[in-house]
């Protein structure tokens, strides 16, 4: 693949395995693609949200009288105006639609207004007088775990504790290394800010919501509960989604927008600004992980023990699931029998945290990869050798007792990454833009040291712990044209092109129409957990296969053949035992065949009190090698090259795959060297793109990517999800390279200049 996928494989009708082009691509380049923020309606009002400036306070009083005096204000609503359930949440319903008596994080919604103009909304929000009485701020994970600390929520200060004990937890290794690792709070920072437009039904009998989300049906369930409407009275349509990365799995503006529309009887549009977006969605959990690795003299792992603490902030979101992902991946992609691990997800007055690409595994990987390097150093082995000696393979058992029956080419990922040529030595001129620090041009070439580092990871695919996961799709074939219907959120990943590729391949059609993505069909589940290729891909594949069976039956009946003799070759139906050969378009003339298919993966189990159980569906693996140049005086880092080999199963679209790999690497690079929401006792210090730094073109490293293509028998298309793995082990690889360049024992990410150039 080597970064020229569009030229290395023919597009051949856009079937599976080719770099078929996305159907929304041209519209997106021309500005004609309708994102959720691009919708407008006749007689539309704007909505906005009043949020708490305090991380923990009692609400003494709220006085909206001055706001009502502003011309153009049509509605002001509070907690008492929520007709149904007062709270929502993906796993536990513990988050208020509006705070009533107490606010538990900075940015918690208290009221919403609807008015004729965004500026009127802003003035009205500013005119609502809220009197707060400050409460002690709980911002420390250890304090939250301490039973003596007063609970800041009726559900307590610990979302979940989980233990894993396996094998002989008392065994000791010849070599023992330990470390404590800190991970900062990362933001998904999708570009397309939260936006929605709600249309009320006459008389308030129902509502239609155009919204950018990852999971239409889950949103609908939570919205309907809060509105006290039957789910079928709440219709959701996917507005174009400007990226998601986990931040659109939770409710943000959905309920508020619907409430304002129902209250005013007019369409209402709500659109967050960037600062509000930082407060309006969950983030990646910050955490602290302590691990002690035991190995024998040959470098084989004997035991892993330690603990993990993730801070979930004020409300539950998916913290309990993130925690399970985290603790079950502390093992890394390495074979080992013995463990003793504990993990806690805490509730504090910090910003709520939940899903972000990698979902608990990013944190775990940062710690276990730091440990592998420590082991290598203690044993005098190279980073590659220690990982090869422990590389997991199919049939190995996890600490949870689950046997890895996925394809598991860990050693191959490492070897193929290792074989990628290293970049040439740096040739920096003074003042070059390519120096560490980029446009600052402050770096001095004589202070630059190069470093190389490694990271390897394992990532579960799909949801875990007994979640009843399914995806539905419908295929309709009329006159040689296939139409596909599904509720799968297209967030940029390219499911829309994959769905077309599947239909073209299975049915031999060229034209595949995609119906509106909405709730007028069964759930597709969330676009998260690297699951849609497997789940919705399986559903589209299943629906197309059912249609093909009906078509074969029809053709076989007309020509007195056994339908089992028929196959699709290109765009034709072919009799494998006779002369018949006819275009699908001709065979399906005048027919209408419609089939719906529900895809399920095999069931999973919950973990028991010792963390034992088959809790995951399948796994994917990846290796990353980072090369960095560091100005050791200024603490500036330039990531020069990322080499990677990723276990992907069957490659379905090389171009889309490369896009996931390069994009994930950029996000992992962000977490390694620049991205962090800085929180000081519950107060967010940098909620803007001026102060929360994202990788730009000047930060983009050269990426050399090799897909490890081994068909995955467990997957409907032989393909593993590829979205999450690229962003997981690249972060520890970059940090290891910085350690290698500087000789410093850096134990936190992101690495800041002071971590490199000031005394620790």
């Amino acid at each position: 693949m080597k970064n020229t996928p569009s030229s290395t494989r023919t597009r051949n009708r856009g079937v599976l395995g080719t770099s078929a082009l996305r159907p929304d691509g041209v519209a997106k380049t021309q500005g004609n693609f309708a994102f959720s923020s691009d919708f407008q309606a006749e007689n539309m009002l704007w909505g906005a949200t009043l949020r708490s400036p305090h991380p923990h306070a009692r609400i003494v009083s709220i006085d909206p009288s001055e706001a009502w005096k502003i011309s153009g204000v049509e509605a002001i609503i509070f907690a008492d105006d929520v007709p149904g359930k007062a709270t929502y949440g993906l796993i536990a319903s513990d988050q208020p639609v509006f705070a009533r008596d107490v606010v538990r994080y900075m940015g918690e919604p208290i009221a919403a207004v609807a008015a004729d103009h965004p500026e009127t909304c802003r003035r009205a929000i500013a005119a609502i007088k809220v009197v707060y009485e400050g409460l002690p701020v709980l911002s420390d994970m250890d304090a939250a775990i301490d039973p003596a600390t007063p609970a800041i929520h009726p559900d307590g200060n610990v979302f979940r504790h989980q233990r894993i004990v396996s094998g002989n937890p008392d065994v000791m290794g010849d070599v023992v290394v330990e470390g404590t690792y800190d991970i900062g709070m990362q933001d998904q920072a999708f570009l397309g800010l939260e936006a929605a437009l709600a249309y009320p039904d006459p008389g308030g009998a129902g509502v239609e919501l155009v919204v950018a989300t990852q999971w239409l049906h889950e949103d609908r369930k939570q919205i309907a509960d809060c509105l006290d409407l039957a789910p079928e009275k709440v219709r959701l349509v996917l507005g174009g989604v400007g990226g998601a990365f986990g931040a659109r799995e939770d409710i943000s503006l959905q309920v508020h927008t619907c409430l304002l529309a129902l209250r005013t009887g007019r369409p209402v549009k709500v659109q967050y600004g960037r600062e509000e977006s930082f407060f309006g969605h969950v983030h990646r959990h910050p955490g602290r992980i302590h691990l002690r690795h035991h190995a024998d003299r040959a470098g084989k792992l004997v035991k892993v023990e330690g603990w993990m603490k993730l801070d979930g902030g004020a409300y539950a979101s998916t913290s309990s699931a993130v925690l399970i992902n985290g603790i079950t991946h502390l093992q890394g992609p390495y074979a080992c029998d013995n463990s003793r691990l504990d993990a806690w997800a805490t509730r504090t007055n910090n910003p709520p945290c939940g899903a972000m690409r990698g979902f608990g595994v990013v944190q775990a990987c940062f710690a276990h990869e730091g440990q592998m390097d420590k082991l290598a150093a203690a044993l005098g082995l190279s980073p590659v050798e220690i990982r090869l000696r422990n590389a997991m393979k199919t049939g190995d058992k996890l600490f949870t007792g689950q046997v890895v029956d996925s394809v598991a080419p860990v050693a191959r990922c490492i070897r193929e990454t290792d074989a990628i040529p290293l970049p040439a030595d740096a040739q920096y001129g003074t003042g070059s833009l390519e120096l560490p620090g980029g446009s600052g041009r402050t770096s001095d070439p004589s202070h630059i040291r190069r470093g190389i580092g490694w990271g390897v990871s394992i990532k579960n695919l799909m949801y875990s712990e007994g979640f009843d996961d399914s995806a539905e799709a419908r295929c309709t074939l009329v006159d040689g044209v296939a139409t596909l219907k599904f509720a799968t959120a297209e967030v940029g990943q390219g499911f829309v092109v994959l769905a077309q590729q599947i239909a073209r391949t299975v049915l031999g059609v060229d034209t595949v129409v995609l119906d509106t993505i909405d709730t007028q069909i069964g759930s597709a589940g969330s676009t998260s957990a690297s699951r849609q290729t497997w789940m919705s891909g399986g559903a589209v594949d299943g629906a197309c296969r059912l249609v093909r069976e009906r078509l074969f039956e029809h053709v076989a009946h007309l020509h007195n053949l056994d339908p089992l003799q028929l196959v699709i070759e290109g765009t034709e139906i072919v009799d494998t035992l006779g002369p018949l050969r006819m275009p699908v378009a001709e065979a399906s003339k005048g027919l209408r065949i419609e089939q719906t298919f529900l895809h399920r993966h095999r069931p999973t189990e919950e973990l028991d009190e010792n963390g034992q159980g088959n809790c995951h569906v399948a796994f994917a693996f990846v290796a990353h090698r980072a090369v960095v140049d560091v100005d050791t005086e200024l603490g500036l880092v330039k990531v020069v090259q990322i080499a990677t080999a990723q276990d992907v199963g069957q490659v379905l679209n090389p171009l889309a795959l490369l896009g996931q790999i390069e994009g994930g690497i950029a996000q992992g690079l962000g977490l390694a060297v620049m991205e962090e929401i800085v929180v000081d006792r519950g107060v967010v210090r940098n909620p803007s793109f001026t102060d929360y730094l994202l990788p730009t073109t000047l930060d983009a490293p050269d990426v050399v990517a090799i897909p490890i293509e081994e068909y995955e028998p467990l997957a409907p298309l032989g393909a593993k999800g590829v979205g999450e793995p690229p962003c997981i082990s690249v972060t520890p690889a970059i940090v290891a390279a910085i350690r290698n360049a500087t000789g410093r024992d850096i134990v936190r990410t992101p690495v800041r200049p002071q971590d490199i150039c000031l005394p620790s």
């Binding site: 970064n3 020229t4 996928p5 569009s6 770099s19 082009l21 996305r22 929304d24 691509g25 041209v26 997106k28 380049t29 021309q30 500005g31 004609n32 693609f33 994102f35 923020s37 691009d38 407008q40 011309s71 153009g72 103009h117 500026e119 998904q188 999708f190 570009l191 397309g192 800010l193 174009g240 989604v241 400007g242 990226g243 998601a244 990365f245 600004g273 960037r274 070059s432 833009l433 980029g438 940029g492 990943q493 171009l655 490369l658 896009g659 390069e662 994009g663 994930g664 690497i665 950029a666 996000q667 803007s688 793109f689 001026t690 990788p695 730009t696 073109t697 000047l698 983009a700 990426v703």
Partner: protein, 163 residues
């Protein structure tokens, strides 16, 4: 709103467009989108950091979120919708699609405007010149690799066509 202004005119994509009864504090981005229906320019940061709202103002690439619409009355504004007169995709737009430079697509219109702006001024930019020119356009999906590939292709094709 009470404090609206009467009337002003903008020249957008070669056409005179009237703006009536607007609030004087509205950004060019807001007016283009909400009053003139040109939704191609996107807002993602409101402080000129992300480039999603990039338009050409008298030929300069600017963040339309940082321009007060009422101050642009004497300028020529070109948005992503105005790059191709006939509605067919430009060479840059085609290359973005062909090379996988588009994922979620929210940053794309701003990048398209920025790439046109770059290549109109510098038809043969070096890799670092491309990076510098596009460093004000943040993309969260692609990691930029396919965007560089698209720009390289346009440069090569334009060079070939010029021979």
């Amino acid at each position: 709103m009470n404090d609206t202004t009467g009337f002003y005119e903008l020249v957008v994509n070669g056409k005179k467009r009237e703006v009536r009864d607007s609030w004087v504090g509205e950004s060019l981005l807001y007016v283009l989108r909400e009053r003139l229906g040109l939704m191609g320019s996107k807002g993602a940061c409101e402080q000129g950091e992300c480039g999603s709202c990039t338009v050409l103002l008298d030929g300069d690439a600017v963040c339309s979120c940082l321009v007060l619409a009422a101050t642009a009355t004497d300028s020529e504004v070109v948005t992503v919708e105005g790059l191709a007169a006939d509605g067919a995709p430009t060479d840059v737009q085609k290359a973005f699609v062909e090379h996988g430079a588009v994922q979620c697509g929210f940053c794309t219109p701003g990048l398209i405007v920025a790439v046109h702006h770059l290549l109109d001024r510098n038809p043969d930019p070096s890799a670092i010149e491309v990076k510098e020119a596009l460093s004000g356009n943040i993309c969260r999906c692609t990691g930029y690799g396919r965007i560089f590939a698209a720009v390289e292709t346009v440069v090569a094709i334009r060079k070939g066509a010029g021979k």
